[in-house]
């Protein structure tokens, strides 16, 4: 989650859902929290009962809107204008909480004189390289200092090594704490958002000024020493070609209002599954190792190169070598030492983009032989189902592990030409195995096996462990150097009985131990870079402190205070609220009695939570000019993972599409960009493939309506856990779309009847719900209709239906390669579709110009993925 990672230092929700009860205003945007996180939503209801104002900004009136004090209908894909408008309101009405903003953010930092804003370059920042289709970030930097690594260390694009830890001189960067310097971040923000006025919000988002200003007033009235507000978002924000910048916009608002690290404040990133947070902490991502340690890049030839690039000059990423070496000791044990670079050359190297969409498009070109699908149903749940099926059909082998015979395991039945050999392994459910979930609170909670899995069902742990054992056996006698890592891998977990690994043994490895004493570690500060400690995930160190399974703690909240630190365990160091040093003023005193949380008692930081700070560093501490590493964190630097200890209103590095969020229309929209001549995010990733045709950027007469996709309470994502259960299936038994009365009248749709929804990728049929919860908006003087599409259905299971995701194109945000499924275009007509499957595109249609050259300037995309031409 670089939106939060770049802004504050860690890619995770900054608070915990229980804390929402202390909010004085909650803005839910990009999330349908009541429907998709009903259990967490109880804390919003609690806040409401205590008098908080609840705002829901969403294209649809949902079950969340029904509980809100104000529902703001918005055009899907226009949120940066709405949020930018709030930033504009705060800055122009002088509503920022400056006592907080000046010491705790980079508002006062002065930016390089070469920097040019999108206001000056009509939608581009300085440094655009049209030949490469990417930015050179050099002019975005702080004035007079070398490059400052983002989130302490993170590089979205791995760089070549050399030069030692970066960002050592960041404390020497000039600051103007009067915020008057024309190139200080505060003034640059004012300039950047000068045109994000209530009138523009109305013109682009379709939100009347009165409604918009109501939201601004509630937010600013609930800011300052006595009051706080929170933002909640989910994939309604992330799944856009500018998704990361949506989250950055909210981060800027929360910094300006002084809401970070304080009770009732923060940004709640709502994760969609039981352990999605866990799946990035101990990642299933191609470019990360556990604990957000970057994967080695092919350009980083030696361990020294790798460590130099990733070690920060200041903040806690300065201890990067200790985190990395401990990880390698956990992976390889005695097989690694300083002499063989701790096994660094054995790690696979990243050579480019290997994200999901790129992998699947490679698959369609026959470049990938085998594929493991575990706990996922890409044929239904991922973008462009047709491409997904094409890809699977070109494999040699496919392994699917799931609870039921999901579409990904059954796709070949509809494809007589498919030669892929499909292996299906039945999986054990969470009640049938031990393990942990890491939820949206960064909270690890242990679950115990309640019943034995039926038949041949096995847990992922047992499956992967057995697979590893067989691989080790297969390569045991190899002399090929490439097989060395498999031979050297430490792979000896305790087994409860043959074939069943003790999950607690894995937690032990993750927590790590002191290899000299053999004792479990209790916090990440104990990690060493000399090979005397091992830890499978440095941010999880302490989850098994004292040899006790901390995530298994279940002391009820009523037996402790509201923070409930003895329920489960959260990373890092059981801190429930991140950056909580900021809950005290620069002198270390609570901002107010009402918002007391963590404070300095004269000797140490104390309060309701574990302080997210150096426990005994006084507020008065200031580093010397040449201090680096943890020593460089000043007593007023609450953001200890950042190299400069500050929250970043402006990101001088780390984001590929700009230092400040800027409005771009979605890849496929209905109106031209009313802010800049550049229509879409110039840095977005396109995939030019036969199966992945794009509509015109706007005004495409074939596809006049905005489509947006979502989930329902009654189903689980791609349906693998709900469409086989009668009790859930009967509640939402058929695929449907939601349309307004006005659109129904315009097109001739009848409530309960059939409709066919079409894009260039596919056509699907569904039932129609005509509802007042969908309303047309007035955008740039015209009526814009939006169509809502839940995406749970597929071709197998108890209830079946067409898959919405078949409609969506591969096009991605550059920072995280996430698809744009929350705003795209399509058409709708009454009746059922005529073809059983996807429509085959006419070749003539392929030549359709995408961005209408000549009409508008358009940043070309030479980096775009086009394997058909390769």
């Amino acid at each position: 989650m670089p939106g939060l990672g770049i802004s504050f230092g860690r890619g995770g929700a900054t608070t915990f859902v229980q804390d929402l009860q202390h909010s004085d205003v909650i803005v839910i945007q990009g999330s349908n929290m009541a429907e998709c996180h009903p259990v967490a939503f109880q804390w919003v209801m609690e806040a409401k009962a205590r008098g908080a104002k609840i705002v829901h900004v969403d294209p649809r009136f949902t079950r969340t809107s029904a509980m809100a004090d104000l529902h703001v209908p918005i055009r899907a894909g226009s949120d940066i204008v709405f949020l930018g408008g709030i930033i504009h309101y705060i800055l122009e009405n002088d509503k920022a909480f400056k006592e907080y903003v000046i010491p705790y953010t980079n508002a006062a930092n002065i930016i390089d004189p070469r920097f040019r804003d999108t206001e000056e370059l009509d939608g581009f920042f300085s440094g655009w390289r049209a030949d490469k289709g990417e930015y050179d970030e050099e002019s975005w930097r702080y004035q007079g200092v070398e490059e400052v690594p983002a989130a302490g260390h993170k590089e979205v694009v791995p760089k070549e090594g050399g030069g030692g830890p970066r960002g050592k001189d960041v404390k020497k960067a000039p600051r103007d704490e009067t915020l008057q310097h024309p190139r200080c971040v505060y003034q640059l923000l004012r300039k950047h958002y000068a045109r994000y006025t209530p009138e523009k919000v109305e013109e682009i988002c379709g939100v009347p000024p009165k409604t918009f200003l109501q939201v601004c007033e509630w937010l600013t009235q609930n800011s300052g020493r006595e009051r706080t507000g929170a933002f909640c978002y989910a994939v309604g924000w992330t799944q856009h070609t500018v998704g990361v910048q949506y989250i950055r916009s909210a981060a800027i608002i929360q910094m300006l209002l002084g809401n970070m690290g304080r009770p009732g404040g923060g940004i709640m990133a709502l994760r969609g599954h039981a352990s999605i947070q866990g799946s990035t902490d101990i990642p299933t991502l191609y470019n990360l190792l556990p604990g957000y340690i970057p994967m080695a890049h092919a350009k980083q030839h030696s361990l020294k190169d790798y460590l130099d690039v990733n070690t920060a000059g200041g903040g806690f990423w300065s201890n990067f070598p200790a985190y990395f070496v401990s990880l390698m000791k956990a992976y390889f044990g005695d097989a690694v030492s300083k002499d063989n670079q701790w096994g660094y050359p054995w790690l696979p190297s990243v050579t480019g983009d290997h994200s999901h969409m790129t992998t699947v498009s490679d698959m369609t070109q026959g470049k990938i032989k085998g594929y493991f699908v575990m706990g996922e149903n890409p044929v239904v749940g991922s973008t462009n189902g047709g491409m997904q099926r094409d890809g699977l059909a070109k494999l040699e082998w496919l392994v699917v592990r799931d609870l039921a015979m999901i579409e990904t395991a059954e796709f070949w039945r509809e494809r007589p030409e498919c030669e892929t050999e499909v292996f299906f392994f039945p999986a054990a459910a969470h009640t049938e195995k031990d393990g942990s979930f890491t939820n949206t609170n960064r909270l690890l909670q242990w679950h115990h096996k309640a019943v034995e899995p039926p038949g041949d069902c096995k847990s992922e742990l047992d499956f992967v462990y057995e697979l590893g054992k067989r691989l080790k056996a297969a390569y045991a006698s190899s002399t090929d150097p490439k097989d060395k890592p498999i031979q050297a891998l430490a792979w000896n977990y305790r087994e409860i009985k043959p074939g069943e690994v003790d999950a607690d043994a894995v937690l032990e490895e993750i927590n790590g131990k002191n290899l000299v004493t053999g004792k479990p570690l209790s916090k990440y500060g104990e990690l060493k870079d000399d090979g005397t400690t091992a830890a499978g995930c440095w941010i999880y160190v302490g989850c098994r402190a004292d040899g006790v399974n901390q995530p298994a703690r279940r002391k009820p909240q009523r037996e402790q205070d509201w923070v409930a630190r003895e329920w489960g365990w959260s990373w890092p160091d059981n801190r429930r609220m991140l950056y909580n040093r900021a809950s005290a003023d620069p002198d270390g005193k609570p901002w107010s009695e009402r918002k007391r949380y963590v404070y300095w008692n004269g000797e140490k930081w104390t309060g309701f939570d574990t302080a997210d700070f150096i426990p005994d560093r006084p507020p008065s501490y200031r580093p010397g000019p040449d201090d680096t590493g943890v020593k460089a964190i000043s007593g007023i630097d609450p953001f200890i993972m950042q190299v400069d200890g500050k929250a970043w209103l402006y990101a001088p590095s780390g984001l590929l599409d700009g230092p400040m969020p800027t409005h771009y229309e979605p890849e496929e929209g209905v109106v031209p960009n009313a802010m800049y001549r550049q229509e879409c995010n110039p840095r977005r990733l396109e995939y030019h493939l036969r199966r992945n045709r794009y509509h015109r950027a706007f005004d495409d007469p074939r596809y006049p309506y905005v489509l947006t996709t979502y989930r329902l309470t009654e189903h689980h994502t791609a349906g693998g856990m709900s469409r086989w259960l009668s009790w859930l299936s009967e509640l939402m038994p058929e695929m449907f779309c939601e349309v307004s009365h006005e659109l129904a009248a315009e097109v001739g749709l009848k409530n309960g009847g059939w409709a066919t929804v079409t894009t260039a990728r596919a056509q699907i049929e569904c039932r129609v719900l005509v509802t007042g919860r969908m309303r047309p908006l007035r955008i740039q003087g015209r009526t814009v209709h939006q169509i809502g599409l839940p995406y749970h259905w597929g071709s197998t299971g108890l209830v079946r239906g067409d898959s919405t995701n078949d409609l969506i194109a591969f096009v991605a945000d550059p920072n995280v390669q996430i698809q744009e499924s929350k705003a795209f275009t399509g058409n709708i007509r009454p009746g059922r579709r005529e073809q059983r499957y996807r429509i085959e595109p006419e070749l003539a249609e392929l030549a359709e110009p995408r961005d209408l050259p000549g009409l508008r300037p358009y940043a070309t995309q030479p980096m775009q993925h086009n394997p058909e031409k390769e």
Binding site: A34, M45, A66, L712, E730, L769
Partner: protein, 252 residues
Amino acid sequence: MKGFFTDTTLCIGCKACEVACKQWNQLPEDGLHLTGMSYDNTGHLGSSTWRHVSFVERPVPLGGTLSNFSWLMMSDVCKHCARAGCLEACPTGAIVRTEFGSVYIQPEICNGCGYCVSACPFGVVDRREDDGRAWKCTLCYDRLKADMKPACAKSCPTESIQFGDLVQLKVKARQRVEELHARGMTEAYLYGEEQEGTGGLNAFFLLADKPEKYNLPPKPEVPTKRAPKSWLSMGAAIAGLAALMLTAAVTP
């Protein structure tokens, strides 16, 4: 006396109550068809649906909010009437009042006559197609015996469904209405907390619109409520007829 207070202004329509009820009581599904009635695909309470969430879409705001639309949700259930029509109509004694004050159908005694079905003023009791017997919410009698909350109340994430001692629930409910009025939701009121026609409901509701909007009868009445009056009028009729006959007899 135990019962439910269902505060519909807290209901987020998640239907966890429906699912928890079906799972605990092992009830079969009843049809996989989209109704087209907002997000309600269950339709109504029945022999295999003992909790049902209804959805009411209204193009008018809810008091105290600034949105120009509202969506009311309400989890309906057997009311366990203080004076229960089903119980009074049951000829076999299968329907009893339990020690918790709830109305319980003993399936091993029920003979499927169906009198209770027409005697329920709310249309809650229903016979199953396969075995012919009458079924409805048991207030999780088995769970109560084990000192556990009913499954629906246990699963409700927002405490829209509150289970407990009726006297206390009624105090809480009245406070909640006052609170909502103070916030501008002046339309909030209690349904069934006191009710002449049923003697009051052991499962009562806080509503924000007319009962009919939620598919509830505005003035429910158990059939036997009118029995004394009808006996009386029948008596009067007989007396009248007798008088008439007498008059006829004595008239020459």
